[in-house]
Symmetry: C2
Subunit: 402 residues, 2 copies
């Protein structure tokens, strides 16, 4: 655990004290975090767990100096912008780790270590600390890494910045910039489920929804194993996660690769439960009108359109969006078949409602690179097909937030 | 630059939008950060600067897999608790990097790379971003490292979490736990100056103080070069920085090493300007009383006592506190002599008022390990010596803040 390194005056006016004198001090929080974060692989650290820095023995970290790279990513989650009402502290801890791990997943990298800096608000207790720490610990540990350090300080709102460190073979880094003309555009899991789960959490009135479905939002599941498998296969030309939304991610691949895409709307992988949830919301809105077959059909269309919009333009899904050459399709299909068999044991550690939508991991070809110079969405209508521009729209904490 | 990975709904009610539609979006901030953080050592990165993770080529990072460790530390600074009024954005950026680097300095480690996650408040402009980024960049660069990644998101208040990555030979890690019975207790630089500078900044009325002096607080100077020199000398048994206050750091060494210390009060390295500032405050307070010689003597004693209190119990000094065996004293004295000659060129990059108190770097023997089982302070009085318990008091963001 790193200690606090800020400037202030310990003998200054205590009337500003954010906590009562019985509230835990920094060292109490640090002790509780340390208790939860028991290191499994002791030789990993060459220093001591009580110093300002975690010193990680390089030889424990990797195998080959000449052909490997370390990967680093850092991300912040905070109460007002990232945690919808109803999320538990365990889930907030899990999310803080998961959003960082997802960045590594998109590079096909293997996570090794995790550090965090936790800003804890007034009234935060040691029991709260335990819950938060266990969420971090279980996520980091599930994906094969260790929590090697942290820092804690007072904050107006709960704020957790994580930093994840991973390792990759230099040949197996999947970047955003290498999408090729002719590539197929592929997506893991479902699209739009996190957006629908957010609607449910923001609307406290009617919860006709499973716990498993809400986890799409509150327990994001980084595709670490799938990302690594894809990177090592050599089949993938470019990859990104969809945390800011599918359209936003398509635009990123497009801008950096100079390749444009068409998404085939009917191939977007939608979760049936997501569609049911939207339908039931629409039904509630319509309940004063006569509920005939016409209305039902209109509602179905409206629900489908709404879910397509969530799938394209809402953040929070944390799936992998990647491109492959068409001649690699059967290889990737075979890889996912093998993965879903061989990884069954690893995923048995997840509770049954934690597997839903995560394991087995499906992947879908949702589109392809096109010759035109814009990103489009292909819609199938009764009398044929229409193509619409894909909007450059997604999550941006500066322009929109919860 | 890592992108934002948070959950929200881009098509939700925009009335919550924290910025006007003309305000910069996340990508604008990222672009400005990226512009400032130009990588000097291009082969360091094996990936692309546009991905979610920075991928650092291990061979560019270090020389020897079997005998080296990576060091990691993370720390947060934020507007309400760490930035007294009057600090510039450049200084806030510098501080965000410096507090992290200081943790590496205490381990004697060499910084290589830096990542940040910046929470930017309402109204933050791209010009503000430039200032902040340049402060980070200049600090990281001065100490020989590179900014390799970052992330930015909206926040109620300016909040910067940094993560620094360094490299150390396994034999040359200076920990807190190895202080030995008989050790001398040593300190770099001055003690208490940051605390006095904070008083000046909090009290806007009378500024009889140099810009250089205020930098003690607003531009903390991590002792990276000195820490590395000390670690590589093999002379140091234990080391820590004094960011939470000298007494707090003594208690840390003591608790982890099982060794107790006596600080000789008259050996504490005090800056004459700090003493003058406190005296002038006391003089202002006394101005309605008769200003005779007696009063002056009382004021001098009171000022000295106040500065000793700042030196012991105030955070923010970021000096190195270390212990050595007495037979290593002449070696360490010689090392500092050589350092202050050989490093002159490197320090010539600092503006003249940035060198004050930082370079040349003095070090002082301020005490020693003792046989008794408590940490004490030795005070010299007119008729001899008195020993007082050293209070276990220092900066804790949960119990006190600015």
């Amino acid at each position: 655990m790193g200690k606090e390194t800020v400037n202030s005056n310990p003998i200054s006016d205590s009337s500003h004290s954010p906590h009562s004198s019985n509230a835990p001090a920094e060292k109490d929080f640090i002790r509780e975090f340390s208790r939860v974060f028991q290191l499994k692989n002791k030789p990993l650290l060459s220093g001591s767990e009580f110093d300002d820095c975690a010193a990680v023995r390089l030889s424990a970290f990797c195998r080959d100096l000449s052909s490997e790279s370390l990967t680093f990513s850092t991300d912040t989650v905070r109460e007002s912008t990232d945690f919808p009402a109803g999320m538990t502290l365990w889930q907030k801890g899990w999310m803080a780790a998961a959003v960082n791990l997802s960045d590594l997943a998109a590079m096909g990298s293997t996570p090794v270590a995790f550090l965090f800096s936790a800003g804890l608000p007034r009234g935060f207790t040691l029991e709260d600390t335990t819950q938060l720490a266990q969420g971090i610990q279980e996520c980091v540990s599930f994906f094969g890494a260790e929590v090697i350090g942290g820092d804690t300080e007072y904050s107006e709102e709960l704020t957790i910045t994580g930093t994840v460190i991973g390792i990759s073979n230099n040949k197996h880094l999947t970047l955003r910039k290498n999408a090729q003309p002719g590539d197929l555009l592929c997506l893991t899991g479902f699209a739009g489920s996190a957006g629908v789960a957010l609607k449910v959490l923001l609307d406290q009135t009617s919860k006709v929804v499973s716990e498993a479905f809400l986890k799409n939002l509150s327990e994001p599941f980084p595709r670490i194993f799938e990302g690594k498998m894809l990177a090592e296969s050599g089949a993938v030309n470019s990859m990104i996660d969809t945390s800011d939304g599918l359209a936003s991610s398509v635009y990123e691949l497009s801008a950096l690769s100079g390749v444009f895409f068409e998404i085939d709307e009917q191939n977007l992988p939608l979760d049936g439960e997501a569609l049911n949830i939207i339908s039931s919301y629409l039904k509630n809105e319509d309940k004063n009108e006569k509920n005939d077959a016409d209305n039902q059909e209109q509602r179905d269309t409206k629900a489908y359109d709404a879910l397509i919009s969530e799938a394209l333009y809402t953040g929070g899904d944390f799936e992998l969006l990647f491109t492959i050459s068409p001649d690699k399709l059967s290889l990737v299909e075979e890889l996912f078949r093998q993965f879903n068999t061989s990884a069954a044991d690893r995923f048995s550690r997840l509770p049954s409602d934690g597997k839903s939508g995560r394991f087995p991991c499906k992947f879908t070809v949702i589109g392809k690179a096109i010759a035109e110079k814009e990103n489009v969405i292909l819609r199938h209508t009764g009398n044929g097909q229409k193509r619409y521009p894909l909007l450059k729209m997604g999550y941006d904490s500066f322009t929109k937030y919860i």
